[in-house]
């Protein structure tokens, strides 16, 4: 049975997971709540829990049902959600990452098609994509990719009819009302606008990626000739 006493609904998700969903209907508030709840739940260090995935309006908790049970996980989630009360506030300060991107051509082969779908010129698409700070909402697939709110396009961007089997690392993509950078080569169905020469992920770092939910990304257009000036440099917080 869904547990819907307050601003969070908790539902079972198989024998080894539950999902807590924020139900205010306000996207910003729901996002704040699930990430605050993730921090609070994580701090409890409940035995048997082996993974949590906070996203936009939902928090997935995965556990070993031989080491804990649904009732215990639900009870702790409910307790922590109640404790957060009406106005959850995340305390981690947002940081800003400036990301150089070569747009179009072989770097962003879908730029023309996206421009056409949106009824814009390629230049207008680039200006919208690079013209405002985009907020990271969660780390997702593949490989801890930063899932961002998309730029202020006039409408959602359709996914590719036929996904690519291999997207190059550093590819900058959009779909629906979301934006992302692909950290590692992987299959992908999101249209590609460009590519950054920066290295997004460091296998020797912990965590592997430097950004957190709440941080912002600002894309900065560069020319293909400037690629080598940035190639392989790590993505790092901008202090400028």
């Amino acid at each position: 049975m869904p547990d819907t006493d307050s601003s969070v609904a908790i539902v079972d998700c198989g024998d080894s997971a539950v999902v807590a969903r924020a139900t205010s209907g306000d996207a910003e508030r729901d996002w704040q709540l699930v990430h605050s709840l993730a921090d609070a739940f994580d701090a409890v260090r409940l035995d048997g829990v082996y993974g949590i995935v906070p996203t936009y309006d939902a928090l997935l908790v995965e556990f070993d049902c031989a080491g804990t049970d649904h009732e215990t996980v639900r009870r702790v989630l409910r307790r922590e959600a109640d404790r957060l009360g009406e106005g959850p506030v995340r305390t981690a300060a947002a940081r800003r990452f400036v990301v150089p991107v070569v747009y179009g051509g072989e770097y962003g082969p879908d730029l023309p098609v996206v421009a056409e779908q949106l009824g814009l010129t390629e230049q207008e698409v680039v200006e919208l994509h690079s013209g405002a700070d985009l907020t990271v909402r969660c780390l997702g697939a593949p490989a801890g990719a930063p899932m961002m709110d998309g730029p202020a396009f006039p409408r959602p961007v359709p996914r590719l009819a036929s996904p690519r089997t291999r997207v190059l690392p550093g590819s900058v993509a959009v779909a629906g009302r979301q934006a992302v950078i692909c950290p590692m080569p992987s299959p992908g169905g999101w249209p590609l606008l460009g590519r950054t020469p920066l290295s997004v992920l460091d296998l020797d770092a912990d965590p592997l990626t430097p950004y957190r939910p709440g941080d912002t990304f600002r894309f900065r257009p560069i020319t293909p000739e400037q690629w080598d000036d940035h190639a392989g440099l790590p993505l790092a917080v901008s202090h400028g």
């Binding site: 198989g14 993974g51 996203t55 997935l60 995965e62 997702g140 801890g144 592997l208």
Partner: protein, 327 residues
């Protein structure tokens, strides 16, 4: 320690463990042995910690030779296990002398075999686990001629009557099938499929060749989402049964990306996931509906059987003076 395991024929083998736990918040899938039960039992039969590194051998023949006396255990799908040409049992510890050749051939019914060695392998680790992550390009994939570093400490075990098995530990051996029954519970988005949801249980599905550790694709009569509206990307559990556009079901396994945007119709149970880790492309499978309580009970029973085996192994190893690391 300069002891090694020399790989003659690698086939498709990797160094594996139970997975990279606690990293899904940073976007990393858990990965790890696809048949968790068989992997656990292989390590337990060697007196190792359940989560220690072991070899996951997929579909193809494999052979290797240790440079020192070792105790090994081979679990997972039925196969022909020999040591210097002499047939040896799976699901029991097997003593192998320095220089002898271990061969695993004819893997059948299932697709994955696990080989554990008393002690540990020398293998790179990422965020606390040696489990391969194909998206990160991390993992120790074995090649012909590899020399795998071995930390082992097993005295040679002589048996007065050669060919009579030294051990009878009665490990919990799962059943392997030509056609599989995979247990699922209701998914959180079941209602979005309306009356079509019951199709999941009506007829068998055929496992496509496009199946791997990330997910299995199943051909057959596919339920349809009747709800409309976009699904926001969110965390999906290992075992999620999804219905993307098209004529196939997608069942996510341990290498799955942590977020996805398809509704979840059903979720494969913990015991069902170990079985699913053995299903071969081309085989057929049927889903069976379980309640949450039934699924949890089955998982706990399976784990309890492994715990009981652990106790028997300790007793036998103590009697034989085989040193085991503290658990």
């Amino acid at each position: 320690m300069a002891d090694t395991l020399t790989v003659h024929r690698a086939g498709l083998a990797t160094v594996q463990d139970l997975g990279r736990f606690g990293r899904s918040r940073y976007g990393l899938p858990v990965n790890g042995a696809l048949d968790q039960h068989s992997a656990r039992v292989a390590n337990v039969l060697c007196g190792n910690a359940e989560g220690g590194p072991l070899l996951e051998i997929t579909a193809l023949d494999f052979s290797c030779t240790p440079s020192t006396d070792v105790l090994v255990a081979v679990t997972g799908a039925p196969a022909d296990l020999t040591v210097d040409g002499v047939a040896r049992p799976q699901w029991e510890p097997v003593s192998v002398r320095s220089g002898q050749t271990i061969r695993i051939t004819g893997i059948r019914l299932g697709i994955r075999v696990y080989l554990a060695v008393l002690g540990s392998f020398n293998t790179p680790s990422l965020q606390g686990s040696c489990a391969p992550d194909t998206i990160l390009g991390f993992g120790h994939v074995l090649r012909d001629g590899d020399e795998l570093g071995l930390h082992t400490h097993c005295p040679p075990l002589d048996h007065p009557h050669f060919r009579i098995p030294l051990f009878r530990l009665s490990a919990p051996v799962p059943r392997f099938h030509a056609t599989w029954t995979i247990d699922v519970t209701d998914g959180p988005d079941l209602a979005e499929f309306g009356d079509t949801a019951e199709r999941l249980f009506r007829a068998p599905y055929t496992v496509s060749a496009q199946s791997n550790h990330i997910g299995l694709r199943l051909g057959g009569e596919v339920p349809r989402r009747v709800a409309t509206g976009e699904v926001l990307s969110r965390g999906v559990p290992v075992g999620a049964v999804e219905v993307p556009a098209g004529d196939e079901l997608l069942v996510l396994h341990r290498g799955r990306g942590v977020t996805a945007g398809y509704p979840v119709l059903a979720v494969v149970t913990a015991t069902g996931l170990s079985a699913l880790g053995q299903v071969r492309p081309g085989q057929s499978l049927r889903f069976r509906h379980r309640t949450l309580a039934e699924a949890v009970t089955a998982h706990r029973a399976q784990r309890h059987a492994v715990d009981a085996l652990k106790t028997r192994v300790r007793t036998v190893f103590d009697a034989l003076r085989i040193p085991v690391p503290p658990l």
